[in-house]
């Protein structure tokens, strides 16, 4: 009999970390009361990142080089999905170059969405491996508590079955779910910002009663005594996991760090991000209790195996891969809260012919090039006639995915004339190991960081946006690869 559980996990935290002291310094004249929150840093998406791009990177972190063809479903959870009607999971699927024969689902509507998607995936895992990605890039009003507390990030969990528990990272013990319209905050469809209620009420009635009752009754129903919990992952509200653990009888040392001083609350992705963090070091036999809160509760219990796949970087690797950002105005500009004068060069029409995108979706969204089956020449994009000067073979090319192949810089510039939301725009020609060349935009790159020969890694990002019609265009960019990544 097969066992259901987690077979792989990954995470993505954007490189930029906005210093909360910088947020406070800019807003203290208006909101001096936020001083108490002005500690540590929060993960801040680059201008070209959103929930979709971060989900793609988290999935790549978790999937590594394992074959992707067997995946039977992809579930994407977020309350900040870029598209309200264009399946976001479908874009992630194209970027991951997954086969077309796969089921997909977008989950949203509340902060339980991540755990609910995970639960759904686990419940159907016997039908084939399922990929769960959760990502969040929420907007918060300047000088709000949310701006201080939230963070951007993504997590990925691959669920499936194993003949023995050793095939899994953790096996699924069971779950307990509660749904109740407790409105600690809300955001109407199409609105930018949350509207939240008094924190004391949320803590006492929401966390202290609704969540606590669910935790207690869930553990009882699943037959797991609280003291057996090795790792307790609770809501990312200050003191709440500790309070819940104490009142439920979970040992205090089981309470996991909620990464509030390093990442911030990544919303629907956060429980999964914390689970991925926990799985990095969980030992065989460890019991993990994961509790999410949002118009109810999802409680999921796992038992770690101490074995199985490790992510490429994971939460720990991403925590280490950081660049402190102290420019609050830049952060406001990146989220669109501050409309800087972008100049006439930003006025170009970015209308996307949808017919062309459909024809070229593997090229554009999957970074799939061509390889000549006759000469082995690799090129991007693929074409009917080979670029090989010694053999312009016709109709010989097969798909050749380039996204996971390292590349090196042949030439580069930092362009102060072209419009970029983060000038100067940096780009150059890159050569992929084993063949293939393209001119690529560089991202996550500091001025002066790039040189000829520099090793780069391809990342899925926003290329630009058609603001007139409300359409985000995605493509791949090159980011400097760290030595560990090479």
């Amino acid at each position: 009999m097969s066992i259901i559980g987690i077979t792989a996990f990954g995470a993505y935290i954007p490189m930029l970390r906005l210093q909360r002291s910088a947020i406070h310094a800019a807003n203290s004249w208006f909101a001096p009361g936020l001083r108490g929150l002005a500690r540590g840093e929060r993960a801040m998406a680059n201008w070209d990142e959103d929930a979709i791009t971060m989900a793609v990177e988290a999935a790549r972190d978790g999937l590594g080089q394992r074959p992707r063809a067997p995946l039977s479903a992809i579930l994407f959870a977020s309350t900040s999905a870029p598209f309200a009607d264009r399946q976001n999971a479908g874009i992630v699927k194209e970027a991951l170059n997954l086969p077309d024969s796969i089921a997909a689902l977008d989950a949203g509507g509340g902060l339980k969405a991540g755990t609910s998607a995970l639960l759904l995936a686990l419940q159907g895992a016997s039908a084939g491996p399922r990929l769960v990605v959760a990502a969040e890039k929420r907007k918060a009003r300047p000088a709000s508590e949310s701006e201080m507390l939230q963070g951007d990030g993504a997590a990925c969990l691959l669920v499936g079955t194993g003949a023995a528990s050793g095939d899994l990272v953790a096996h699924f013990i069971g779950h307990h779910s509660v749904t109740a319209d407790f409105i600690d905050h809300f955001r109407q469809s199409g609105a930018d910002f949350d509207y939240g209620w008094e924190a004391r009420w949320i803590r006492e009635e929401g966390h202290g009663k609704l969540a606590l009752d669910a935790l207690k009754s869930g553990l009882q129903a699943l037959g797991v005594s609280p003291e057996r919990i090795t790792h307790f992952i609770g809501p990312a509200a200050r003191g709440v996991p500790e309070m819940l653990a104490k009142k439920a009888g979970i040992r205090p040392e089981a309470v996991r760090d909620t990464l509030s001083t390093t990442v911030g609350d990544t919303g629907a992705a956060h429980p999964l991000l914390l689970l991925a963090h926990c799985l990095e070091t969980a030992q065989a036999g460890d019991i993990i209790a994961l509790l999410s809160f949002g118009q109810g509760v999802d409680l999921l219990l796992f038992e770690a195996t101490g074995k199985g796949a490790k992510p490429r970087l994971g939460v720990s690797g991403h925590l280490a891969r950081r660049r402190a950002e102290t420019n609050y105005l830049k952060a406001l500009s990146f989220t669109g809260a501050l409309a800087l004068d972008r100049g006439m060069r930003a006025e170009a029409d970015m209308k996307q012919p949808l017919t062309a995108l459909w024809r070229n979706r593997r090229t554009v969204l999957g970074l799939v090039g061509g390889r000549c089956t006759k000469t082995g020449t690799v090129q991007f994009p693929r074409s009917d006639i080979s670029v090989n000067p010694n053999d312009h073979a016709v109709g010989t090319q097969e798909d050749y995915p380039l996204a996971d192949i390292p590349a090196r810089v042949l030439s580069f510039t930092a362009d102060s004339l072209a419009f970029s939301p983060d000038p100067p725009q940096q780009y150059g020609t890159i050569d992929f190991e084993g063949g293939g060349r393209m001119m690529a935009e560089f991202t996550d790159v500091a001025p002066g960081e790039v040189s000829v020969g520099q090793l780069m890694r391809m990342v899925f990002r926003i290329k630009n946006s058609d603001e007139k019609r409300g359409f985000t265009r995605y493509f791949w960019k090159a980011a400097p690869a760290s030595k560990e990544e090479s």
Binding site: G343, M344, R345, E347, A348, D349, M350, Q352, P353, A356, L357, N360, T363, V364, T377, Q379, F380, P381, S383, V387, N388, P389, L410, S411, F412, T413, A414, D415, S416, L417, A418, F419, P424, Q425, Y427, G428, T429, D431, G435, R437, M438, M439, A440, E441, V452, G453, K463, R473, F475
Partner: protein
Amino acid sequence: MPKGIRDKVAILGMGCARFGERWADDADSLMVEAYTEALADAGIDTSQLDAAWLSVAFDAVNIGPSGIPLAVALRLDAIPVTKVENYCASGTEAFRGAVYAVASGAADIALALGVEKLKDTGYGGLPVRTRGTMHDMVGIVGSAPGNFAQLATAYEAEHGVSRADLKRAMAHVSVKSHDNGAKNPKAHLRNRIDIDTVLNAPMIAEPLGLFDCCGVSDGAACAIVTTPEIARSLGKADLVTVKALQLAVSNGWELQGSGWNGSYMATTRIAATRAYEEAGVKSPRSEIDLMEVHDCFSITELVTMEDLHISKPGEGWKDVLDGLFDADGKIPCQIDGGLKCFGHPIGASGLRMIYENYLQLLGRAGDRQRSTPPRLALSHNLGGMPNQNVSAIAIVGLEDA
């Protein structure tokens, strides 16, 4: 190898509008300004033209599509007009159309006119535009300086040239062109600059600073061509003939293939070899007397000295610093100020280069006339980006050269 164009076609007359920020003038007026000069020089009237070619690159922001704007502005006699666009090499492309028409015998007298009205965009530099549906999805728009700046970073890496040495050589290119432009009454920029000004200028696209970039101008230039026989019958004694006209267009190898190192223009090397063959030039460094090259950026001019087989690969920067291409050097380059200072109205530039070579060959270049009388002059007109481009070369010379 085809026999080529050598000496089959003569230039009957040329004209060039004053380049610059022509706030007061429409494209029509610029075309007429260049045309009336050429018509007077040729000594003919409009009714004698059999066909015309019009070059313009950014038609969407100035004259609009088709050959009609030329026919209307010049009130041509319902002759065939072909509009051509080949990036910044469009001017030479128009010239090529007219020259080939005459060489084929299909036309006795043909007109090539290039025009660009760029100062109606509201901002400096070239207009931002699409490069096609596929490019918009996977390419980088960037800017012209950004695309050409990559030549410099690749050149440094390929030849082991330090940033400081290359910046100094690039600065010399620009200082020289400003010196030359100062003597040219039709030039957009007529101010002299010193090397420190160039080196301390704001960065546009690393490592290109403000003075490494050419001006963007309004302007027009034109040529009227015919056979040497007809030219003589019309009373012309000293003839300037076309010795070579070559175009090499990237097929994607540089950008998509492997082997190109990013530090040169592969097409220019090919077009130059073909042009010298067509013109019967064996040793360009000793036979070419004068050059007008596509100095959209200082680094472009520098590597073009190598691509034209004048300087050895990796040594162009030394020849530049040695003054080889100064107005009083062995082979002056941009004796009229070049794109850098004469200006760069895209569709007109290729014809402007031929205009200058034509004047110099006939000794009509005024204050900037080359002291040693030139006999063979080359123009190089590049469109696109280093990694994907159109390279056009025209060699013109005295009939007996």
